[in-house]
């Protein structure tokens, strides 16, 4: 079991409340996934620069010094930090790898920041000050591990390329064979997690020109197992379920937002929920919303 939540705002007046609403949703899914949790926030504050969500290799890591060396703006959050740079991601990531090889890159992109770790949603939201965050889109996950170890690296969301965020409730059964195929095409993996395979498959398809919907159609064809997926890019938000749909999903749509969660409990506190169109995505349907 795992829990998923997502909130894709249509009404800018709600953007100041994004973190607060998303944290409430995530905490409502605590008992679906108490071992690890993660949340992704999309906002427009990078103003065209690229944000890197980085995790410290050890307590007391000197982020200011790293920021100076890389000429990046530093926003430290607890022990970890988001660095903002005007450089291209290829140059920045190789410079980062050279000067601070122990720092983990959790995500990067013009809009996306990802925070995840072992621990309850309340702990993670508190540590990364999620309730104070504004933005236009949030994706969250609470994990009850089945396929691989309980570590920060194995927790969701997975974000293998700029601004892509992928969360999963379920388990892929043929992920090792799909992974072998992807490795044959030069894809490099960081963990032995099944969800990372799905995320990298979608990333590869999109790098080859597929849009998100097409990439998810490829995933449904290639990957076997149980899944409810919530996948987002800078401007899109998509939900799919496997042919048996043994993992739940509920969507609520209003003129102000599209919200998705594993269970309605996570949606019940959203503004205007009583007037929302609440429905369950059916097996193999690709539901996709764009900004």
């Amino acid at each position: 079991m795992c829990g998923i939540i997502g909130l894709h705002l249509r009404d800018e007046s709600l953007e100041d409340q994004l973190g607060h609403l998303a944290a409430d949703m995530l905490e409502a899914m605590t008992d679906r996934g108490p071992d690890s949790s993660g949340i992704a926030i999309y906002d427009s504050e990078g103003q065209g620069r690229i944000k890197y969500s980085l995790r410290a290799p050890a307590v007391g890591f000197d982020w200011a010094a790293l920021g100076d060396r890389l000429s990046a703006e530093v926003r430290q959050i607890g022990q970890d930090a988001v660095l903002v740079s005007a450089d291209g991601s290829v140059d920045f990531l190789s410079a980062l790898g050279a000067v601070a090889p122990d720092v983990t890159v959790v995500s990067w992109g013009e809009a996306l920041e990802v925070f995840k770790d072992v621990g309850s949603p309340a702990e993670i939201c508190d540590r990364y000050q999620i309730r104070f965050r504004s933005g236009y889109q949030a994706i969250g996950h609470t994990r009850m591990a089945t396929e691989s170890a309980v570590t920060t690296e194995h927790s969701h969301p997975f974000s293998p390329v700029a601004d892509l965020c992928f969360v999963h409730n379920g388990s892929f059964s043929n992920y090792f064979s799909v992974r072998r195929d992807l490795e044959g095409e030069g894809v490099v993996f960081e963990t032995d997690n099944d969800t990372e395979v799905g995320a990298r498959l979608v990333a590869l398809e999109m790098a080859r020109g597929a849009d998100l919907g097409d990439a998810l159609a490829v995933l449904m064809k290639k990957m076997d197992g149980f899944y409810t997926l919530l996948v987002s890019t800078r401007d899109q938000f998509a939900v799919v379920r496997d042919p048996f749909s043994c993992k739940p999903a509920v969507v609520a749509e209003t003129p102000q937002y599209v919200a998705m969660a594993s269970e309605y409990r996570a949606l019940a506190g959203l503004p205007g929920i009583d007037e929302a169109d609440v429905f369950e995505p059916m097996p193999q349907e690709i539901h996709l919303w764009s900004r």
């Binding site: 739940p248 309605y264 409990r265 996570a266 609440v278 059916m282």
Partner: protein
């Protein structure tokens, strides 16, 4: 009328309060906000109204009460129901009435995938549509669908019977449409009267039941593999 608020009480507290009520009591449960396992495992003859959208397993394992939900419900409404009634004013999510042994579950909206999975003698009446794989391995009891049924309806059915007023997306393995008899019409009529879902015409439903080809292992067929 007793009122219990989900904003103030835990699920366990609510169920304990319900359990302690004498037969004939009327209860209103407020602010459910998707709460799971409300009104489960009760043996008393009480009338419970859940005022809003509720979560999983509403009314499950009950043997007596009448439960009304003024909203939609999550997975497994009336799971393993023994006796009593459950009426949902909205839609029901997956596995409504799973393995219900008795009682009546009436859904005014649609019910999702696997409605009546492993039904064991209960009755499920859905005014709207049911999703794919409904009636899967249903052993005994009756399902009546006022709308359409999804794919793989009645897959691996045993002795349960499914009536469908609308279209059947596709029959599952070993399910077949059989001729409607006078006693079938009478049974559907009773269910229409009991639920008030009078858009269903008892003479115009399809009867789906087991072809019983999976009941016994066919030793000769094994050679064809």
């Amino acid at each position: 009328m007793v009122t219990l608020s989900c904003a103030e009480l835990s699920t366990r507290e609510i169920n304990q309060e319900l359990r302690a009520l004498p037969d004939g009591s009327e209860v209103l449960i407020t602010e459910p906000r998707g709460r799971h396992s409300l009104a489960v495992g009760l043996n008393n003859r009480i009338r419970i109204t859940i005022d809003g959208n509720a979560g999983y397993y509403i009314g499950g394992l009950c043997d007596g009460p009448d439960v009304i939900v003024n909203g939609f419900v999550g997975w497994g409404v009336g799971e393993n129901l023994m006796a009593g009634t459950i009426r949902v004013r909205g839609n029901a999510s997956e596995s409504a009435g799973a393995s219900a042994h008795g009682g009546l579950i009436a859904i005014e909206g649609d019910a999702s995938l696997r409605t009546g999975i492993s039904l064991k003698g209960g009755t499920i009446v859905v005014a709207g549509n049911v999703g794919a794989m409904s009636g899967f391995m249903a052993q005994a009891g009756t399902m009546l669908v006022g709308g359409n049924a999804g794919e793989a309806l009645g897959d691996s059915l045993y002795e349960a019977v499914i009536y469908v007023a609308g279209r059947v997306g596709a029959l599952g393995s070993d399910a077949r449409v059989e001729e409607l008899t006078a006693s079938d019409v009478l049974r559907v009529k009773e269910l229409v009267e009991a639920t008030g879902f009078d858009h269903i015409e008892p003479e115009n439903v399809k009867r789906v039941a087991s072809a019983k080809q999976l009941y016994n292992f066919d030793a000769v067929k094994a050679h064809s593999y």
